[in-house]
């Protein structure tokens, strides 16, 4: 075992930290969130420095590194500004599907703009009724004269309103020509005919990222957009869910660390009853709890990302990482708000949005109920099997 980042990893960490410190502007971030605007310029700059798609294959102009490197970047970005970090990093939420399962050509065509920071991707996986059950998907994907036709509605899609392409999860329409496996993934450019968007409105956090419902009304794409010719069982789409959960866990770690940094700063400065807050035992113990919480989360997140890179990460690992890290983020940001008192509630002092952002991470891609189901399925075995 070796619990130290390698030299290149440390350089990435430092570069990500420096970039975030230098480029993320607090006032700008608050303004972006307030107006629900996507930070396009920051995305482009991050892309230019190679932070976007650091774990994408070189064939897609990615850096060919791993999830661990991506986690390191996510941690440092979200530490500086959880909302900005999430916005920038979620730009590729969906691109992974394309290069993992698509043909080279489409992978290049769709993923390259993402790596260049010029395009946003979106995972259009969930439907309201699914509630953690991937087999309840009702969107239909059918072959039709050589094209692929998509019909259905995807709900609460991140980047839903401004993605350049969606990766849509569906099942094969009854009577459709391709038989057999039930689940299909298809990349759909957002300028295709028949796509209608409904804004899901303001969100409690993660406010720079749009959130919407995407309706596919007989949308047609060429066959090459079908990411796996033969479809699959639920394992492949679930693998993408796992990958997304690991990424979220790294964002959660950074969010916790960022709130912690600010709380620690504050208690060192602020006086009450003629003493610095840092002198009060109860305040000290809160900081100790937060530090312990972050420390136990950090190694779990790194371990999970590492396991993913070694292709040993199962759904239980990913769910444990997300459950632990998002809970840590909520608890630490919550305590940070409390430590800052009235200021903790004020926009200007930032921790308030770390708290809201943490809660969105906790809900996204499965809240604790779905995560615990997933963990139990691995640890105990699926229910129903005696």
């Amino acid at each position: 075992m070796e619990f130290e980042l390698s030299k290149p990893q440390k350089e990435i960490q430092k570069a990500a930290r420096d970039f975030a410190k230098g480029e993320f502007d607090k006032e700008e971030g608050i303004a972006f969130s307030k107006s629900r605007k996507y930070p396009e310029k920051i995305l482009k700059k991050a892309a230019e420095l190679g932070f976007i798609g650091i774990h994408y294959p070189q064939s897609c102009e990615g850096a060919g590194m791993g999830m661990l490197e991506n986690a390191i970047v996510a941690e440092q970005f979200c530490r500086q500004d959880s909302a900005m970090g999430m916005a920038v990093l979620l730009s590729g939420f969906g691109a992974e599907c394309v290069f993992r399962f698509g043909e080279k050509e489409i992978a290049k065509r769709l993923v390259l703009p993402v790596v260049e920071g010029k395009a946003l991707s979106a995972l259009a996986f969930f439907e309201t009724k699914m509630v953690g059950r991937i087999d309840a998907v009702s969107t239909l994907i059918a072959e039709d004269n050589g094209d692929i036709a998509i019909n259905g509605e995807k709900n609460f899609v991140l980047n839903g309103m401004n993605a350049d392409f969606y990766v849509v999860l569906g099942r094969n329409a009854e009577g459709a020509s391709f038989a057999g496996d039930r689940f299909f993934l298809v990349a759909v450019e957002s300028d295709r005919k028949g796509i209608h968007l409904t804004d899901a409105g303001q969100t409690i956090g993660n406010n720079m990222v749009s959130f919407g419902h995407v309706h596919f009304d007989n949308v047609r794409v060429p066959a090459e957009n079908l990411l796996q010719k033969s479809g699959s069982g639920p394992d492949r789409p679930l693998a993408l869910v796992n990958e997304a959960r690991i990424q979220l866990s790294a964002m959660a770690l950074g969010t916790a660390q960022g709130a912690f940094d600010r709380a620690l700063d504050y208690i060192r400065q602020r006086e009450q009853f003629s003493r610095k807050l840092a002198q009060f035992q109860v305040i000290r113990h809160k900081i100790a709890e937060m530090a312990a919480r972050i420390e136990q989360t950090r190694w779990l997140v790194y371990k999970t990302a590492w396991k993913f890179d070694k292709k040993k990460c199962d759904a239980g690992d990913a769910a444990i990482a997300k459950l632990t890290a998002s809970r840590c983020a909520l608890e630490v940001t919550d305590e940070a708000v409390q430590l800052l008192g009235g200021y903790g509630y004020m926009t200007e002092y930032e921790v308030e949005h770390f708290y809201r952002d943490a809660k969105t991470i906790e809900i996204m891609m499965g809240s604790s109920f779905q995560l615990k189901d997933a963990i139990a399925d691995v640890v105990i075995g699926k229910p129903g099997k005696k």
Binding site: I30, F126, T128, K129, M130, V131, R133, D135, A136, N155, F156, A200, G201, Q202, T203, I204, N206, F211, E271, Q272, F273, S274, V282, I283, L330, D334, V337, Q338, G341, G342, G344, Y345, M346, T347, E348, E352, H353, Y355, R356, K359, T360, E362, I363, M364, S367, S368, F369, K372
Partner: protein, 381 residues
């Protein structure tokens, strides 16, 4: 078995108020949240309908109602799921200072307007560098002939923009003992030297006009001193009890309301197999656990309300209730959201606003850490 004995009059007041709020107030709250302010007409409408300052005696136009009316008003306002129309603060935190400590002249001058909603009140106690630590207050009040000259700045003042009348706590710089140097003053909007700062941007409470206030050689007549000179600290200590109890009542009502909404959602929403969410064992247990804590909080609170109404203030238990119940409300807001799935992510979900609004309850009216400190002190620890 019920701890509180509500009469038929109480119940009909509650129903009238609920109906009024549903038809006259709730249609506008989303707009106020966007505008980050609540219009004065809403206050006047509340007052005209008899829902402000229920405790003020009839001679000043009030209802002369007992404490349970205050409780009902606070609970029903909570169900409007917005905070701009901070009537609880006005009716049961600020106005009681005037009612209890005011001179006859002050009462006659101000109370009728407070009841009618023509005068919106605020209390300016907290300062940028003195939160819960009243002793380190720096705003000053200096005598100058028959006038008092106020200087200093205050922050986190609820109703800060709308307030027509502000109770300001300030120190006499000539008195050393911080506990004997504070007095309270009534300052009317428009008094020269009294300026409001920017409205503060915050996590929630968007329809609530929390603001800073600045006093710069602000001259008010000496007759605007509220209560005895130098008695401010003790007046604040006395009235903070009810403020904390009212905060606990608000927190309890919020927890109950969020849980009610969430239970309804989980009963009515089905999963892919057509089963209501509430029948999933883990969801059911989560709802039961929340319901248990909410009921337990309610029993404790009702006991305190009964004591408070009977004139038996309980400093230790009030501090405990304030911290435990506001923390409970916060936990409930966090946990309920999880049950809504991705919908809980959006402001369209009715719990979302609660999630943002309730977070400040553990902080205001004395942080929950201060509550524990007070409880510990009065327990003799």
């Amino acid at each position: 078995m019920k701890i509180l004995q509500y009469t038929e009059d109480h119940e009909s007041f509650r129903m009238r108020m609920r109906g009024f709020l549903e038809s006259e107030i709730m249609p506008y709250t989303d707009q106020w949240e966007k505008e980050h302010i609540t219009p004065k007409w809403a206050w006047q409408k509340m007052g005209q309908a008899g829902f402000l300052c229920t405790a003020v005696p009839e001679e000043y136009g009030g209802l002369g109602g007992d404490f349970l009316y205050s409780v009902i008003a606070a609970e029903e306002m909570t169900r409007t799921n917005h905070t701009g129309l901070a009537t609880m603060l006005h009716s049961d935190v600020v106005v009681p200072y005037i009612h209890t400590f005011g001179s006859n002249g002050q009462k006659q001058k101000y109370l009728p307007g407070c009841v009618s909603g023509d005068i919106i009140t605020a209390i300016a106690m907290t300062e940028p560098d003195a939160g819960s630590d009243l002793a380190s207050m720096t705003a000053t009040a200096e005598q100058s002939g028959d006038w008092i000259v106020l200087n200093g700045s205050k922050t986190f003042i609820s109703n800060g923009i709308n307030a027509d009348l502000v109770i300001v706590a300030a120190k006499n710089p000539a008195v050393d003992n911080p506990y004997e140097s504070v007095s309270l003053y009534l300052v009317e909007a428009g008094t020269p030297g009294f300026n409001r700062g920017r409205q503060l941007e915050k996590m929630g409470f968007h329809s609530q006009d929390t603001a800073e206030m600045f006093f710069s050689n602000c001259r008010i007549p000496e007759e605007n001193r509220l209560g005895n000179d130098g008695a401010g600290f003790y007046m604040l200590m006395e009235k903070l009890q009810q403020e904390r109890l009212m905060t606990a009542i608000g927190g309890q009502a919020a927890a109950e309301y969020m849980l009610e909404l969430t239970q309804k959602f989980c009963r009515e929403t089905t999963d892919a197999s057509g089963k209501p969410l509430s029948k999933q064992q883990a969801v059911m247990f989560a709802l039961v656990e929340m319901a248990t804590e909410v009921k337990i909080g309610r029993a404790f609170l009702d006991k305190l309300i009964a004591g408070h109404a009977a004139g038996e203030p309980e400093i230790v238990e009030t501090s405990m209730a304030k911290y435990w119940i506001t923390d409970l409300a916060k936990r409930i807001s966090q946990k309920c959201l999880d049950l809504y799935g991705d919908y809980g992510f959006t402001e369209a979900c009715p719990i979302a606003r609660g999630f943002r609004d309730i977070r400040v309850m553990s902080i205001f009216a004395g942080t929950n850490e201060i509550m524990k400190q007070i409880a510990g002190k009065f327990m003799g620890l």
